[in-house]
């Protein structure tokens, strides 16, 4: 078509199934249907993007009409977008052990009820369990005759237990989400674990805020990598000038033991067989041995910024691709857990994650643990709750002085630009000196 130099179309159809059980009542359970496409066009300047609900694949005049509408949108853009060269290609989707799609809703509901029941115990006033399953059939095509199709199934559950005493409410929360198939069987203990945590938190104290030595468990250390380093390495933010990592390639911002990676090809919850603009996914070492090594890119930001690889463009169904993390982790080191706690000696052990946020331009991040323990003489003692950690990207990483020898990944979702995509974060246990810990305790 005249004037159009590039287009791509990403069409997603699928079904999502959910079950919500609250205090033993099945509040809702059912299936909904999605059919949505996004068409992107370049015609000399910036992007013209059409988002179409209820898309029917079409050819000839009908498709040309869509292209023309997108081209007209692009007419107001001013920026000259150049797409970097990047290899296209698709990885096989890992086989599913037991396909949740084939399991009747009744059976799923009964299994979820057993998990919710597992969370009920004396002192627990509310238990709630949710199941979510998303099946997406993705079809990608572009003006360079690249064409990919794949089917992804993600499923999993959350269980919440609320403990109450004298007006104090505390919660224990467990979640398991997977790309490897149905995971509701034999999980009653997960419900019990949520209850145990909620009850224990009733007796936990509030930590005193200030600078401390902190041991982070793999889940929280993973969120640390995601918030403190991952976002600031995203090529679009670098290009906009909205990241403190801009122009710092080769600069040492952490210890030799610190290597931070994003790899969409790893078979974890953030897995993508191909990125959202048809580029083959690739492993990117953002920090290598403490030195800023490479950024995460789309084809566009690769051309505009350089240093790094494309293959990190991701999108929610029907949304335009953004540069995103997928599976982000701190590589394992060689310290044992015992060595880490002994080296910490006195400080705080932070476990689990309630999420975090970063201002990449200012270089300031914050994230919150589910709970923690004081460390005294290398041993975990009193339980503490509502502990957060904040810091500055360019100085805090030097404080990672030990990395454990076993890495664990945890699933989650990451929000950016109004889009939420599945990710996983992970790390070994790490020891962080000079951690700025927030808490409202006074002793």
């Amino acid at each position: 078509m005249q004037g159009i130099t590039y287009f791509d179309l990403r069409h997603v159809t699928g079904e999502s199934t959910h079950i919500d059980i609250d205090n033993s009542v099945v509040e809702s359970a059912g299936t909904s249907f999605t059919n949505i496409a996004v068409l992107r066009v370049l015609s000399g300047h910036g992007w013209g993007i059409l988002q179409i609900d209820n898309y029917t694949p079409c050819k000839g005049k009908k498709f040309e009409d869509l292209l023309e509408r997108a081209r007209r949108l692009a007419g107001i853009t001013e920026e000259k977008v150049v797409l970097g060269e990047a290899p296209s290609g698709i990885l096989p989707v890992p086989p599913i052990r037991e396909d949740p799609y084939e399991i009747p809703l009744e059976e799923k509901s009964a299994l979820l009820a057993a998990i919710e029941k597992g969370a009920r115990s004396p002192g627990i006033v509310n238990t709630r369990a949710n199941y979510i399953e998303r099946v997406e059939n993705v079809h990608f095509s572009d003006s360079s005759d690249n064409e990919f199709s794949y089917r992804m199934t993600r499923s999993g559950f959350n269980v919440l237990a609320v403990a109450s005493r004298n007006g104090d409410l505390q919660m224990g929360y467990e979640r398991e989400h997977s790309i490897h198939g149905f995971n509701l069987r034999h999980q009653e203990d997960t419900g019990r674990k949520a209850a145990t945590t909620a009850l224990a938190l009733l007796d936990a104290g509030a930590p005193k805020g200030g600078k401390l030595r902190a041991v982070l468990d793999p889940e929280l250390a993973g969120v640390f990598a995601h918030e403190a380093v991952g976002h600031a390495s995203e090529g679009d933010l670098i290009f906009e000038g909205n990241s403190v990592l801009k122009g710092r390639t080769g600069e040492k911002i952490g210890n030799e033991i610190l290597t931070i990676v994003d790899d969409p090809g790893t078979h974890e919850f953030g897995f993508d067989p191909v990125d959202a603009e048809g580029v083959a996914v690739t492993r990117t070492e953002i920090i290598r041995k403490g030195v800023i090594n490479a950024f995460l890119h789309s084809r566009e930001t690769l051309a505009a910024v350089g240093n790094g690889s494309a293959g990190h463009a991701r999108a929610m169904p029907g949304e335009p691709p953004l540069v995103r993390m997928s599976n982000t982790f701190i590589e394992a080191g060689d310290a044992t857990e015992e060595e880490i706690f002994a080296e910490c000696k006195n400080g705080i052990f932070l476990k689990g994650s309630r999420g975090g946020q970063v201002d990449p331009g200012r270089g300031v991040f914050q994230f919150n643990a589910e709970y923690g323990y004081l460390i005294e003489n290398g041993e975990c003692t009193r339980m503490v709750r509502d502990v957060s950690l904040s810091g500055e990207i360019l100085t805090t990483l030097h404080g990672i002085v030990l990395c454990g020898n076993k890495r664990v990944m945890s699933p989650g979702y990451c929000g950016k630009g109004g889009q939420s995509v599945p990710v996983s974060d992970g790390a070994p246990h790490i020891l962080l000196t000079d951690a700025v810990v927030g808490g409202s305790g006074l002793d």
Binding site: S32, G46, W47, V125, L169, N242, R362, V436
Partner: protein
């Protein structure tokens, strides 16, 4: 629409009641990268949500393809068979609705050129201060929503919307500002540009602050983050009966300072949440949650009301056509005695980092502050480089010492700046 009648007719052959929620809309937006327009988007949205009730069992499904309503209806009926049966006294019937001011601007042009004009006016405003624009967005939308049920309800609502945002940076200091309304004439793009670059430029070169107790002035934006994630959900009848609300035992008791009132005002002229009927077809009304500091009531939808022998407060909302109705609010207002809260020296906090990590049940939080200034005699003074703020959202409400004269709309909340004394700040 004939197919909706047909759907309801077909559905009631199998179940007691059927409810249809159908939305159609279009939106256009344009995004800046630095100071140039990088992309323009047009979105054509449609969504159908079906809810069925049979002998107290509630089922639902949704689809973005209304042509496949039969498949969606079958899924909703299958879903109802799994749900636990509950007390249910029927979907509402058509009733006279309250007169409310329109939130529809028939002159709004949902065109890329309109978005471009808004962006240029923001960029003009951004010239006021020497900071670099990093990104920005302007969007216009129009949505028509129809609610129909097997008891004869056929309501339609037409909303337009415009939204703006801009981000800026000066050295290592960032600024953000936004605006939204139902009509283009009601937003001020130049002010959005000016404020974003003001915060970026003037937050720079801040001094550290010592750990200690300080009097804070939280901007409506910062306050909305704490209020919306913790306090407002605790007013939901469902949270109360499920024992997930810390306010559950406080009816008739003091929950905030006595000069503060909180209410949902669905009939207010101006904000986008104004509507005459809720997501289940109950006529909306003002709900006074907190009057002069004392908790008066909780919010209910039909399901929760029937289950616990209460009345719906017209508080059902839907996140879109693909969700079930749930308890929410239309325009949540914090109001009361207003005063000059920035005369004496106070620490002004424009934004928070990490407010969503607050404990949603206990209300305990610890956040990093953003764009913090000393303020005196109504003027911004020297900036503060960085600080953490820890506390409890519920306790903090008892320490509200004042509210600013002006309020602003942040999402679905209409809030003043609030002054809270003696708050714990962790410095460096």
């Amino acid at each position: 629409m004939d197919w909706i009648d047909q759907l309801i007719q077909e559905g009631t052959k199998a179940v007691d009641e059927v409810e249809v929620y159908y939305g159609e809309g279009t939106s256009v937006s344009a995004d800046l990268k630095k100071r140039t327009i990088h992309l323009a988007t047009n979105s054509i949205d449609c969504g159908l949500g079906i809810r069925v009730i049979h002998k107290g069992q509630i089922g639902s499904s949704s689809t973005s393809n209304p042509g496949q309503w039969r498949k969606c209806l079958a899924a909703a009926i299958a879903s109802s068979k799994l749900a636990t049966a509950q007390a249910w006294e029927g979907l509402p019937e058509q009733k006279p609705l309250p007169e409310i001011p329109s939130s529809f601007d028939p002159t709004m042009k949902i065109e890329p050129e309109s978005a471009r004009d808004l962006l240029s006016r923001m960029l003009e405003g951004a010239e006021t201060h020497p900071a670099d624009v990093t990104s920005g967005s302007a969007g216009l939308s129009s949505v028509e929503v129809t609610l129909a049920n097997s008891n004869g309800i056929r309501y339609t609502d037409h909303h337009t919307g415009v939204s703006l945002s801009l981000e800026a940076i000066y050295k290592q200091s960032t600024g953000y500002e936004f605006d939204s309304a139902w009509s283009v004439s009601m937003v001020d793009p130049a002010a959005v540009g000016e404020r974003a670059t003001f915060f970026a430029r003037n937050s720079s070169e801040g001094e550290e602050i010592a750990t200690g107790e300080y009097d804070l002035l939280l901007s409506p934006l910062a306050y909305a983050e704490l209020l919306g994630g913790v306090f407002v959900p605790a007013l939901s009848g469902r949270s109360v009966h499920a024992k997930r609300s810390r306010l559950g035992e406080f009816l008739g008791k003091s929950v905030v300072s006595e000069q503060v009132s909180m209410y949902d005002d669905p009939h207010r002229p101006g904000p986008g949440g104004s509507i005459a009927w809720d997501a289940e077809g109950i006529p909306t009304r003002r709900i006074d949650f907190v009057r002069d500091g004392v908790l008066q009531c909780f919010a209910y939808d039909l399901k929760t009301a029937y289950r616990y022998g209460r009345k719906s407060t017209g508080s059902a909302v839907r996140g879109g056509s693909n969700g079930l109705p749930s308890i929410g609010h239309h325009n949540f207002v914090v109001d009361g005695v207003r005063s000059c809260v920035d005369d004496s020296r106070v620490l002004y906090v424009n934004n928070l980092i990490g407010a969503h990590t607050a404990n949603p049940l206990s209300g305990d939080f610890s956040v990093e502050l953003s764009n913090v200034f000393w303020m005196e005699n109504g003027e911004f003074q020297e900036p503060v480089r960085s600080a953490m703020f820890s506390g409890n959202v519920f306790d903090l409400h008892h320490h509200i010492a004042g509210m600013s004269q002006k309020s602003r709309t942040v999402g679905s909340c209409i809030l003043p700046s609030i002054k809270i004394n003696n708050q714990h700040i962790i410095g460096k």
